[in-house]
């Protein structure tokens, strides 16, 4: 072998080694920079942060994590920073429901991140991350709810026959919310077993009511921002909850339930049908945590009487402050945290990705590993994320309006008010909020 050939061979052999880093994204060089960040904390969010050191190695920058709190505490802290004018950090965790409240503290990412990178994200999710025409968030992972159910209950021949005799149609995983209502009453055997359940307080019940309102053909506000939820569709939406509560088809404590309660309730095997977020999928099918593991079915969220499916959705995201002194480094950092490989790490844990390619790649990996249930989860959730998902109105007043709505929704559930009275009263107070805010 001539010397030249040997050199050529060595050079050829080295190509992949040299090309590999070149093919991976170049995150820039920010030697000596310190990026101050505030991130959402919690078990399911932490594995991503273990990757931060890789970005530090690649760029020479250092990341200083100032906060790692749950979203509600982080929200409080950010509001305090705005009030005290101490926005001396660069990157913060954000959420589509919270983002509109923060005014213009966050930079438009269209100016900071190249169009090619942005094109890799699901377009609908980018649309949800936009406030007043400005892309203030880079989506990290999305969420939407679908219907989990105990499979064996629907396969049981006795159940099938009894249900058909009572309701006149076949027992099958529900396609409409009215079927959910029938099936929930059919399966309920309180206090040992319940047909379904729902979260009953805070923004959680407002969101559930809102998606039901949309599925019933109603709307929260008119085009000129007058509250419109006290409509016939609104009453139908709230009556779905009230009816199941009065029929004892849901646990008596639901007005006090939040996400942990519904998730743990379904995993305890005492609830037949449970509309819940994708993040619970792996938990429900894990024999160590769940009594229904191996017996969990999943269908897309049912339709309301308008033919539209419920699809209240939210997205966790990262934002860059306008006050940030090195926005380029911050943009590199958030791009890294949401790149293909990082999203694969989160997808493996069951979080729904926001990059189109990761949906397919994660599903492919689950299929190769024989995790059939997770393949089904990704199929179902990808359909609802692209076809059914919608956010609450992206206005700063959303949480405040929600705080007027949910105590009234509870009052209707508990029989303190009729459904119409509850919605009328909430609409009256919501109108004051909208007027105070200058919408009308």
């Amino acid at each position: 072998m001539s010397r030249l050939t040997a050199k050529a061979l060595i050079a050829t052999a080295l190509v992949p080694l040299i090309a590999a880093p070149a093919a991976a994204q170049d995150y820039g060089n920010f030697e000596g920079e310190t990026l101050r960040v505030k991130l959402i904390g919690g078990a399911q969010y932490e594995p991503l942060y273990a990757e931060i050191s890789k970005w530090e190695e690649m760029t020479g920058a250092t990341v200083e994590i100032l906060s790692r709190k749950n979203h509600f505490e982080l929200d409080r802290e950010i509001k305090q920073d705005i009030a005290a004018r101490t926005l001396d950090w660069c990157v913060g965790s954000n959420h589509t429901s919270f983002a509109p409240q923060y005014g213009n503290i966050y930079a438009d990412l269209n100016d900071l991140i190249d169009a090619e990178t942005l094109a890799a994200f699901v377009p609908l999710v980018l649309e949800h991350s936009t406030v007043d025409g400005r892309l203030v968030q880079l989506p990290r992972h999305s969420d939407v709810s679908n219907m989990f159910y105990i499979k064996s209950l629907f396969e049981d021949e006795e159940n099938k026959a009894a249900f058909k005799a009572e309701y006149g149609y076949d027992l099958a995983p529900p396609e409409t919310w009215s079927q959910v209502s029938d099936q929930a009453k059919f399966f309920a055997n309180p206090p040992d077993f319940y047909g379904t359940q729902y979260v009953g307080k805070d923004e959680a019940i407002t969101g559930r009511f809102y998606e039901m309102l949309v599925a019933e053909g109603g709307q929260l506000f008119t085009d000129d921002w007058e509250p419109a939820f006290n409509s016939e569709a609104g009453v139908r939406a709230i009556d779905w909850f009230v009816d199941l509560y009065n029929a004892n088809a849901v646990p008596r404590g639901v007005p006090n339930y939040l996400w942990d309660d519904t998730g743990l309730g379904f995993a305890s095997g005492t609830v037949a049908l449970n509309l819940d977020w994708a993040g619970w999928s792996a938990f429900f099918n894990d024999p160590e945590n769940s009594k229904v593991a191996g017996d969990v079915g999943l269908v897309r969220a049912p339709k309301g009487s308008s033919g539209k499916r419920t699809g209240w959705s939210g997205t966790h995201s990262f934002s860059i402050t306008e006050a940030c002194e090195n926005k380029e480094a911050a943009a590199s950092f958030v791009t890294f945290l949401t790149d293909h490989d990082r999203q694969m790490i989160e997808a493996r844990a069951g979080l729904l990705p926001t990059r189109t390619a990761v949906w397919d790649d994660a599903k492919g990996e689950f299929a190769a590993d024989g995790r059939d249930f997770m393949v089904e989860v990704f199929d179902t959730f990808s359909a609802s994320m692209s076809e059914d998902a919608f956010t609450p109105p992206l206005i700063p007043e959303w949480i405040e309006v929600s705080n007027e709505l949910w105590p009234r929704l509870q009052a209707a559930m508990l029989g303190d008010m009729t459904s119409q009275e509850a919605l009328d009263e909430a609409a009256r107070d919501a109108l004051v909020i909208m007027e105070d805010a200058g919408y009308r």
Binding site: G200, P251, P255, I399, P407, L414
Partner: protein, 303 residues
């Protein structure tokens, strides 16, 4: 002249010596109080810092005084305070008297008694939220297994039961404050009057009623003052267990204030509410201090 200067210096010395404390109080207490009083007269929103410059007079207070939700929360807070303080006092007294009687293992028991206070109120809230959960909670499961009920009792939903549940959690966590202070009172009590009373033929109830109880009442009033300030600010446990709901049935002043101030970002209005709550706390503190002085005077008279 020299004498005049010396006298003047002597007069200034206490003020100079006190000045670090006075300045600290001024910066840490008085200024923030004045600032929050001012913000309660503005439409201040956390997310729009410029709103702090708009003066709207007593508008926040007027809104507040005509808001039935606020007055319900106000009344409920007083009821919550009254029940929590009385039950904690009675239980604390019972525990202190029992521990005072034992001779072996008293220190260990005293330490164990402090355990509930060592937990963060948020943890206590979560613990009781799951104990009182109607479907998967331990309490309902136990009651159903023992055959006491075949119903799922909605502990955190029914108006009376929900108040009972948050009171239970609050009392569980803080009864030991009373027990410890009353126990300290019992330890400090001189033996002579007790022995004299026994010699005079008093029975146990008479000794307790006329000697022990008056002696430890100043301690009880100190505990009540401390706890009244704590309970009037009760937030964590209530927020975790019920969030003030359902339908406002367990709404206390501070769950309402926190929601208005942080979630709705109406800090001006929240500060107006907080000022009314502060006046409530001052009223309770004044009441208990009056009682404390009276109890001390009574003891003085008894001597």
């Amino acid at each position: 002249m020299l004498r005049y200067l010396r006298t003047r210096q002597a007069k200034l010395t206490p003020i100079l010596l006190l000045s670090p404390a006075l300045l600290t109080m001024l910066f840490v207490v008085a200024l923030p109080l004045l600032f929050s009083l001012y913000t309660s007269l503005t439409p201040y929103r956390l997310t729009r810092p410029e709103t702090i410059e708009t003066f709207i007079g007593l508008r926040n207070y007027m809104r507040l005084f005509s808001d039935p939700d606020f007055w319900s929360a106000f009344g409920r807070t007083i009821l919550f305070l009254a029940i929590a303080l009385n039950v904690e006092f009675l239980l604390g007294l019972g525990i202190a008297l029992l521990i005072n009687r034992i001779t072996w293992g008293q220190r260990t028991l005293r330490t164990i008694m402090m355990f509930p206070m060592m937990f963060s109120p948020i943890l206590v809230g979560f613990q009781f939220k799951f104990i009182f959960n109607d479907n998967i909670g331990i309490l309902n499961n136990a009651l159903q297994s023992l055959g006491i009920t075949d119903q799922a009792i909605p502990w955190l939903v029914d108006a009376k039961l929900a108040m009972f549940s948050i009171l239970f959690a609050e009392i569980w966590m803080s009864t030991s404050v009373f027990a410890i202070l009353l126990l300290a009172g019992l330890f400090a009590m001189p033996r002579d009057p007790l022995e004299a009373a026994k010699v005079d033929g008093c029975n146990s109830w008479q000794v307790f009623r006329h000697i022990t109880l008056p002696f430890i009442m100043p301690f009880a009033f100190i505990a009540m003052t401390i706890r009244s300030l704590d309970v009037a600010r009760a937030y964590d446990i209530v927020s975790v267990m019920t969030g003030g709901g359902p339908a406002g049935r367990t709404e206390l002043l501070w769950t309402l204030i926190a929601r208005t101030g942080y979630e709705n970002t109406r800090m001006g209005q929240a500060n107006a509410m907080a000022y009314v709550s502060t006046i409530l706390s001052i009223a309770f503190t004044y009441f208990f201090f009056t009682k404390l002085v009276a109890a001390r005077r009574y003891m003085g008279g008894a001597e």
